[in-house]
């Protein structure tokens, strides 16, 4: 059994309550105050300190004298992949699959090598830089001493570790629903047992399709590339690319065998040449 998320774009009102609730619960700092000019999205992406991110998809080319009819939003998050690239890549064992079947980074084990960052096919996990020495970005939300001591948060003073959604490991352990799901006013984010969620998602997508909505599931089944199903999956309208979700993600470790073989072959060839050169005068 594993827990996870079913995030439904057709129910999302783009209120960003999930983003804020996540930051508040996890005591994450703001990422700075940058006006992007891209719709209502100013946090722009998931980062080491933004673990939920609401994408705002606007039609960019609107013909004259037409009325716009769509503006889609969806709340992105770590996918807690069945075969998780970050988990495989991590050389320290900081990234584990916990008792809830979630991909969890143990901040006290992570050494900041950054390999998970480049491994993730969804661009989710990132290193947290030095955390706000003058408290500007934190302001009201200063890190709670108890949490810091219990090393429950990625933000242990100096930063330099990887950060991503913990699936509210601490809340789940206490029997609470993750903060983002709790805050969502429209149940666009549904938390629960993934098998059950998958079932619900399939029913939902059928209902919507019957209503003529161009809806599809992303990650409820195997996304391909060796990754398998995602434990945080989505219901989207339109193409995944427009939400910055890869249409064809790949589990990078599947390339290793080729790599080692090619390297070994090259080394063997060169060794053979080398021996020939040195031995045969």
């Amino acid at each position: 059994m594993a827990t996870g998320f079913f995030t439904d774009a057709t129910l999302c009102i783009g209120c960003k309550a999930c983003e804020v609730a996540c930051k508040q619960w996890n005591e994450l700092p703001s990422d700075g105050f940058v006006f992007s000019g891209n719709s209502y999205d100013n946090t722009s992406e998931l980062s080491g300190t933004t673990w939920r991110h609401v994408a705002f998809v606007e039609e960019r080319a609107v013909a004259e004298d037409t009325v716009v009819s769509a503006w889609s939003m969806v709340s992105d998050v770590c996918k807690h992949c069945t075969n998780a690239a970050c988990h495989e890549a991590c050389p320290t064992g900081a990234i584990i699959r916990n008792e809830f079947g979630n991909i969890f980074i143990q901040p006290d084990v992570c050494n900041g090598c950054g390999y998970c960052v480049v491994a993730c096919p969804f661009g989710v996990v990132d290193l947290i830089g030095h955390v706000d020495p003058d408290g500007v970005l934190y302001n009201l939300a200063t890190l709670h001493d108890d949490r810091r001591e219990a090393e429950q948060t990625a933000l242990q003073g100096s930063g330099g570790v990887a950060g991503k959604c913990t699936l509210c490991y601490d809340r789940q352990r206490s029997g609470f629903v993750p903060a983002c799901a709790k805050a969502c006013p429209t149940e666009s984010i549904q938390f629960g047992d993934v098998d059950e969620l998958r079932e619900r998602a399939r029913v939902r997508v059928e209902t919507l399709q019957a209503r003529g909505v161009d809806a599809s599931l992303y990650g409820a089944d195997d996304v391909g590339g060796g990754i398998g199903p995602l434990n945080a999956f989505f219901l989207l309208t339109g193409e995944p690319e427009s939400y910055n979700l890869p249409s064809q993600p790949v589990l990078p470790s599947t390339r290793q065998a080729h790599g080692y073989a090619a390297g070994a072959l090259a080394a063997l060839a060169l060794a053979a040449v080398g021996f020939t050169i040195f031995r045969g005068r």
């Binding site: 390339r255 080729h258 090619a262 040449v273």
Partner: protein, 307 residues
């Protein structure tokens, strides 16, 4: 609907800077030296033995400097030790760390043997480094020379993923040619001219192999290869790595093989060729990393990730 999200990157690029590039460069040479000490050791001439000794000393020296360079990029250097908590077959970085540790051990033992043979250390100590450590260092060296290529191609970065065979193979070649270059340099400076010619022959083969792989990679990668092969970075890569780092030293080395130059001139030629090769090898690593960052920023490439 839109085919990208406001052209924003989909992936996160590497947080890797010059320290990692330096590690990739020096580590590769270190690995290459592991090969050379074995190959050279297969010949019993005093020149070859001297070459083996030099290669062993040099590789051990690099094995000593590499970890600190590697560690320097970690946010929290003291946590390098966390790498040693586990061994993970699926993680090239984990394997690489253990490889590095093992290589350091083998190289250290082989140096000890050299020193014991020389008499600097008590003679009995040579028994602490059995002969098998010689090929072991070569195998580990080949691994070190190649795993960094596997490490970067087993990521989501489209350019790197696209080069899943090319990058490891080219890394091995580049490491080998770099190691040859460094060895020729040391030999020439130490007056050990006879082996230099041989080293240069091997270096040429490695360099030409690398060139062939890179050329093939370019066509194979198509638009995904753009960050490495096109634009400003592509030019730098072409000029420094391909022209100055592969073609030029190969020509110089060829001249060395066919024309009998006066000794001092020949020494200058070797020094020049070796320096060019080494510089090219550095820029190769640098270009890979930097182009990887650009590649991560290209959402179109990232949506359809290479298998």
């Amino acid at each position: 609907m839109n085919d990208t999200y406001y052209d924003r990157p989909l992936l996160k690029g590497p947080h890797w800077g010059s320290n990692v590039v330096t590690y990739l460069f020096l580590g590769g040479i270190m690995g290459g030296l592991g090969l050379i000490q074995t190959i050279a050791g297969s010949e019993k001439t005093p020149e070859a033995i001297r070459l083996r000794r030099d290669a062993r000393y040099a590789s051990f020296a690099l094995a000593v400097v590499c970890p600190p360079i590697l560690i320097s990029h970690l946010g929290r250097p003291e946590r390098f030790l966390n790498m040693l908590r586990i061994l993970k077959w699926r993680s090239p970085m984990s394997l690489g760390v253990w490889g590095l540790v093992a290589y350091t051990g083998a190289a250290g033992a082989n140096v000890m043997r050299e020193l014991a043979d020389e008499g600097t250390l008590p003679r009995w100590m040579r028994h602490l480094a059995p002969k098998v450590l010689n090929p072991v260092q070569a195998l580990l060296g080949a691994f070190i020379a190649g795993y960094t290529g596997v490490l970067i191609s087993a990521t989501a970065i489209p350019l790197w993923g696209k080069g899943k065979t090319h990058i490891p193979a080219a890394s091995v070649c580049s490491s080998a040619s770099g190691a040859c270059a460094l060895s020729s340099l040391l030999s020439t400076l130490g007056g050990n001219h006879t082996v230099t010619r041989k080293l240069e022959r091997l270096e040429m083969v490695a360099a030409l192999g690398e060139l062939a792989i890179l050329r093939h990679f370019r066509t194979h990668a198509g638009p995904v290869g753009a960050p490495l092969f096109e634009g400003e970075r592509g030019e730098r890569f072409e000029n420094y790595t391909v022209v100055a780092g592969i073609i030029a030293p190969t020509i110089l080395n060829l001249i060395g093989q066919v024309v009998n130059l006066p000794k001092p001139v020949d020494a200058v030629r070797t020094i020049l060729a070796s320096t060019l090769t080494l510089a090219g090898a550095y820029v190769f690593r640098e270009s890979l990393i930097e182009a990887g960052k650009l590649s991560a920023n290209d959402p179109k490439a990232a949506h359809r990730q290479p298998q």
